[in-house]
């Protein structure tokens, strides 16, 4: 049972890598479908931004609240700012955004492509002498790789804003000290490392969700199944990749 599950996982990861190879093959080749790309980017951003907004804001707020309790014991409340900023930049911004995006945009990729598969629309694209990977997967992967870092920056900023609000407005931490501490203890490397993570997560999520959609079988039930799988596998992949990226980059 467990052995079978591991076999399936390794097999599917192999297929995802093959899909990546096909995406890379088609990526530089014309025609460049900018209309399709912008449509995907718009859908991707619009569907996720409000959820990213709320989750990040509250995460920043709760981070400030929790760390206040601990840091107060050392009389180091002004450190809250740097703690929130570093956590958001390096870890929570990219990971939270990736999870939100998996739930919103990733599931939509899987469901949409899955429906197209079971209603033979993907076959139809093929018979019109257009490569379905080129037409459907390339724009979605490019969208994932570019939009996730952008949403991550939004998330970072809102987390810091939430932290500032709780610390300064609710807990009356000195605002000048708060900001000064934050600026001295964080540097651009924190931001960049988070964005590198976001790029990798974007690639993983879009590839896995497109793969799941592409390989859907069995009608409406199959679409539901592959959408669920897409979300579960993508989320797990994000956590696993997060550890290894952190281990390599720091």
């Amino acid at each position: 049972m467990l052995f079978g599950a591991i076999y399936d996982f390794v097999f599917q990861m192999g297929e995802v890598v093959m899909l990546l190879a096909r995406v890379l093959y088609w990526l530089p080749r014309p025609p460049y479908r900018f209309r399709e790309l912008f449509k995907q980017m718009e859908k991707f951003g619009v569907s996720s931004v409000s959820v990213v907004f709320i989750t990040s804001l509250f995460t920043g707020m709760v981070l400030a609240l929790e760390s206040y309790t601990g840091l107060k014991r050392f009389n180091a409340q002004t450190m809250i700012g740097s703690l929130v900023a570093i956590s958001m930049f390096r870890e929570l911004g990219p990971v939270l955004t990736a999870l939100v995006v998996t739930g919103r945009a990733g599931s939509a990729f899987a469901a949409e492509l899955g429906t197209m598969r079971v209603t033979e629309q993907i076959d139809a694209i093929y018979t019109m002498a257009v490569d379905p990977v080129h037409y459907l997967v390339v724009p979605r992967v490019v969208t994932g790789v570019t939009m996730l870092p952008i949403l991550t920056i939004v998330s970072d900023f809102l987390g810091i804003l939430g932290g500032y609000f709780v610390s300064v407005v609710l807990l009356h931490v000195n605002p000048q000290a708060y900001v000064r501490q934050m600026l001295t203890h964080t540097d651009l490397h924190d931001l960049y490392s988070g964005l590198v993570k976001a790029v990798v997560f974007g690639l993983l999520i879009s590839l896995i969700c497109c793969y799941k959609g592409f390989t859907t079988k069995g009608g409406a039930e199959g679409v539901g199944r592959s959408t669920t799988h897409a979300v579960v596998v993508s989320s797990v992949a994000v956590f696993v990749a997060d550890y290894f990226l952190t281990a390599f980059m720091f």
Binding site: P31, E112, M116, T119, E120, Q121, D123, A124, Y126, T127, M128, A129, V130, Y135
Partner: protein, 264 residues
């Protein structure tokens, strides 16, 4: 000199797991003819058809389009071959995120650098060919089953294919609509001269319209010939298929509606 066949299927084998669907299928379709493939459900008719458009790779055997091996070709050659063969799917397979206009324009936009005006003209022309006009801005979900099939046909015609494959075009339609679609297939073949291969299990469509017909059973072609020959055929499998659900006098009626039969 005999003209080269539009499609040659040579000794095609295909298995899914341990299930052997095609066990050595061979036949030819001549240029410009209306060719039917009939057989019971689940005998691999659609699988056979999908080999002819490259959607399925054979385990063994070849499909030649205009003398060129479909599955051996790659790159630009494969693309050129795929453009020669159009396919009308069972449920239309229209892009439901696009309007009728965008659906038919899709292959044009992908393959030609055409101005919007010329695309509009081409779309209108294809829609006229299938007797539909003024529905460009509607979405597929707003169309009836018959209209959707017509749009699917118009889209398949957009690249001016030399060969058109129809996957069960009349399955699940009511008798009136079945007739309508059958006539449309015939008209399209006559108007455009396109070589047409139709997968069906409707014996009436076959006797009325087919130039030639092949009967697929147990993974092999059990019969190939004109509809008249089909009705006279002594093969028990073929007879069983034709006579299922039919009384003797209805078989007579079939013979009468088939122009090639002797009307004694």
């Amino acid at each position: 000199m005999e003209e080269r066949a539009a499609i040659q299927v040579i000794n095609l084998h295909k298995s899914f797991g341990s299930h052997r669907v095609l066990k050595g299928v061979s036949f030819e379709v001549k240029k410009g003819e209306l060719f039917y493939i009939i057989g019971k459900s689940g005998e691999g008719k659609s699988v056979l058809l999908k080999h002819m458009v490259g959607l399925i790779e054979p385990d063994k055997g070849k499909v030649l389009i205009d003398g060129v091996d479909f599955h051996g070709a790659s790159g630009a050659e494969a693309l050129r071959l795929r453009r020669k063969v159009g396919m009308v799917f069972q449920y239309g397979a229209l892009f439901d995120s696009m309007t009728v206009y965008e659906n038919i324009a899709f292959p044009l936009r992908e393959h030609y650098r055409m101005g919007e005006e010329r695309i509009r003209e081409a779309v209108r022309e294809k829609l006229r060919l299938v007797d539909l006009e003024g529905i460009e801005e509607r979405f597929p979900s707003e169309l009836s089953g018959g209209m959707r099939k017509r749009v699917a046909l118009a889209r398949a015609l957009a690249l001016n294919p030399e060969i058109l494959l129809y996957d069960e075009p009349t399955t699940g339609l009511d008798p009136v609509l079945t007739d309508e679609i059958d006539n449309l297939i015939k008209e399209t073949q006559q108007k455009t001269g396109v070589t047409s291969v139709v997968v069906s299990h409707d014996i009436w469509s076959v006797v009325r319209h087919a130039d030639r017909v092949a009967y697929l059973a147990n993974g092999r072609i059990e019969f190939i010939g004109t509809p008249a020959e089909l009705l006279e055929c002594d093969n028990p499998l073929v007879k069983g298929f034709i006579c299922a659900r039919l009384e003797g006098d209805v078989v007579e009626a079939l013979r009468r509606s088939c122009s090639g039969c002797s009307q004694s």
